[in-house]
Amino acid sequence: MNYIIGAFKPPCDIFITFSDERTRKQVPIKKDNGKTAMVPAFQSLETIAGEVSIAPVPGKRLEHTGVKIELLGQIELYFDRGNFYDFTSLVRELEIPGEIYERKTYPFEFSTVEMPYETYNGTNVRLRYILKVTIGRNYVGNITESRDFCVRNYSPVPTINNSIKMEVGIEDCLHIEFEYSKSKYHLKDVIVGKIYFLLVRIKIKNMELEIRRRESTGSGTNTYVETETLAKFELMDGAPVRGESIPVRLFLTPYELTPTYRNINNKFSVKYYLNLVLVDEEDRRYFKQQEITMYRLLETSESS
């Protein structure tokens, strides 16, 4: 394959650079090949600017029908892999048709770009942003080069953030009351709460709190739902008696969470749940799931 590719080696190299590349925050994203790469992070309404440089193979002349750069926001559903749906598409012409003899650099700028959705790599769906340079050619195929970047959008601290409080149970068997101090958490938040045992007639072995992600893609009959357990956090060991109250303190930092995404471009949703699970001595599981809203809070001090 390499040999063949070598034979059809493109007649030029294309480099795309961002103007503030060195100072801009870099975040890891998963590439097509499964490897993680560091890419610059932007947020909605930022200006994306930089340079494209085209360097023809020395001694060769590159004839083209025009050079353009596109900024694309794309959603790819895995049941329809390879088919990208562009929800954002902006174009800048870099060069009118002609010939390139030597290395040439073109500045570009997309000012205050609206990028309402965040970059996301899920189980059945991916949302990505790319800059794509196309050198148009007659008869032979176009030459393209693209570069990923990441979009992250921040939310302010919600004004209303009620606690989650509920009494649940199985009649004459188990009654508990749980309380989580908030219903909306930022990605580096701490879940604080308590579980209060009102009635215990079963032999409980332990209790854990799970964080579950529910990703639903497609619509109608083509809806795919994937639920992943991202955290299993043991809260209690042993059998409590009536009247015991067990503290909850779960730091979210260690887990790879994203904000809650609701109906992104009618294509997918990502929701988060806290699942309280009690396990009895026969390994039966009793659970109660509660949705929580995740949001990305602007970090004041950017640390690694």
Binding site: F233, M236, S245, I246, P247
Partner: protein, 646 residues
Amino acid sequence: MAAASAAVRMLPDGGADDEERWLAEGIAGVQQNAFYMHRALDSNNLLKDALKYSAQMLSELRTSSRLSPHKYYELYMRAFDEMRKLEMFFREETRRGSCSVVDLYELVQHAGNVLPRLYLLCTVGSVYIKSKEAPAKDVLKDLVEMCRGIQHPLRGLFLRSYLSQISRDKLPDIGSEYEGDADSINDAVEFVLQNFIEMNKLWVRMQHQGPVREKEKRSKERNELRDLVGKNLHVLSQIEGVDLDMYKETVLPRILEQVLPEFLQVEAFAKFSNAIGKVIEAQPDMPVVGAVTLYVSLLTFTLRVHPDRLDYVDQVLGACVKKLSGKAKLEDSRATKQIVALLSAPLEKYSNIVTALELSNYPRVMDYLDNATTKVMAVIESLFDLIKGLIKDMDGAQDDELDEEDFKEEQNSVARLIHMLHNDDHEEMLKILCTVQKHILQGGPKRLTFTVPSLVFSALKLVRRLQGQDGDVTGEDVPATPKKIFQILHQTIEALSCVPSPELALRLYLQCAEAANDCDLEPVAYEFFTQAFILYEEEIAYSAKLLKKPDQCRAVYACSHLFWTDDQDGIMDGERYLYFFEKGIPQITNTVIQDLIELIRTEKQSDNTAADPLTEAFFASTLRYIEFQKQKGGSIGEKYEQIKTT
């Protein structure tokens, strides 16, 4: 047989072998992970690895259910030694500034399993307090709270024992380098007490969890763990800043609350009792309230530990009476409150006044309170307030759920209590009676039949006492006159009409009438008789209508006997009328007999009366008797002549 017993003997041996193997596996697990942990510690900058392996090492302590406390202790000690090393490493790391202690405190909480997480948290907590970056009390409070995550008794006990161990030299005691604000000593005590209370709860729970057949084994295991719990008391005794007041007000009551029957063993009562006696003796200036408070504590303890030893409870009350006897009136409202607490504790515990009343010193304490005249009513009020569940229908309480027998027993108890209320001073006694009356009249119909008689007889007793001291009764200013008491009695008995329990009321009226008669209060006696008769006419005679028709007839016969009591000879029921008739009593005329016969006949013929062969036979024989007498002639025969039997 021989084979079977051999097999039985084999089992425990096999179990012990297994246990040895599990312990060995556990120790191997600890050692292996400790090795990796050390390697991470040695190579620096591998904090995450160090945490990972230490958590894995501590995970060995999670699989404890198979080990006896003794073996678990061995495993725990292995891990404990390693944790000391980890603590030193943490201290070094934070001192070098490569990781802040606050970050570390968060980082260890990322561990997914609760037991390793809490061991690590306690370990970092120790470093945190030492760093003084946060007040010791805050860290300790957090640790003692978070440890609630371990509800497994054995694992919880060891974890909390670890907490106690690492914190004992870091309490915000007075004079300690960790001393905090003005309330520091409270924080120190509060922490130790809370950890102790939680440990004690876990320890007690051990007895009740698990299969019944292993109960004995668990008892043995618990004994092995007793010292673990008791160590907290030792730590508590080492706190410098605890003074007598604090010990008395906070520490002792809280500890006593926790102490359960098996704990501190049998002589505890004697020891405490002695100690308290000495404390009180040694401090003659101690206010009464202090002494009584101590007795309340002791009593609470006794009721918990020896609920079956009424003699102990009585002893405490007795000691209290003795102490109080030398004192002047109780003017201190706090002391009075404590006495009320003293009196109410047994009531609450036994929720049964009968038991409380078996305590010979109980009324003595109450008697003593009588000295503080102004308080008497308050005490009785509060006494009744305490048992209000017994003396009136509580809101929402469902009568149909009440066990009839329990209810009767309860009410009998209340009745007995009323009898117990006694005061030598007649005026006071009258006040007591008024208070009691006020309370029991709210009791509702079901209770009145039990409570009213006791009150009536109690009041009559007072009447007789007043009667005994002739001269005094005449004084006009004296409020406690028999007349007044009779008024109260009248009101009280009247209340019975709503029950309705006319027969009881009738009897009580008659009793009162008799008493009034003895007091030479003729109008009063007359009034009572009047009431009795009215009652009889309206209620008792009326009640006859409710009976079945044939019974009615018999009831009418029987009633006749009430008017003319004659003991001379036993005459069978039905023959009474004729008997009286024959005796020539003027009210029984031949018309009456005739009416009676007609009445019986009508009743017999009415549709809804099932024919009763016995009644039938009896009536027929009566009629035959009348006929026979007619035929026999003579003076009796003449009397019967006008009665038609057909």
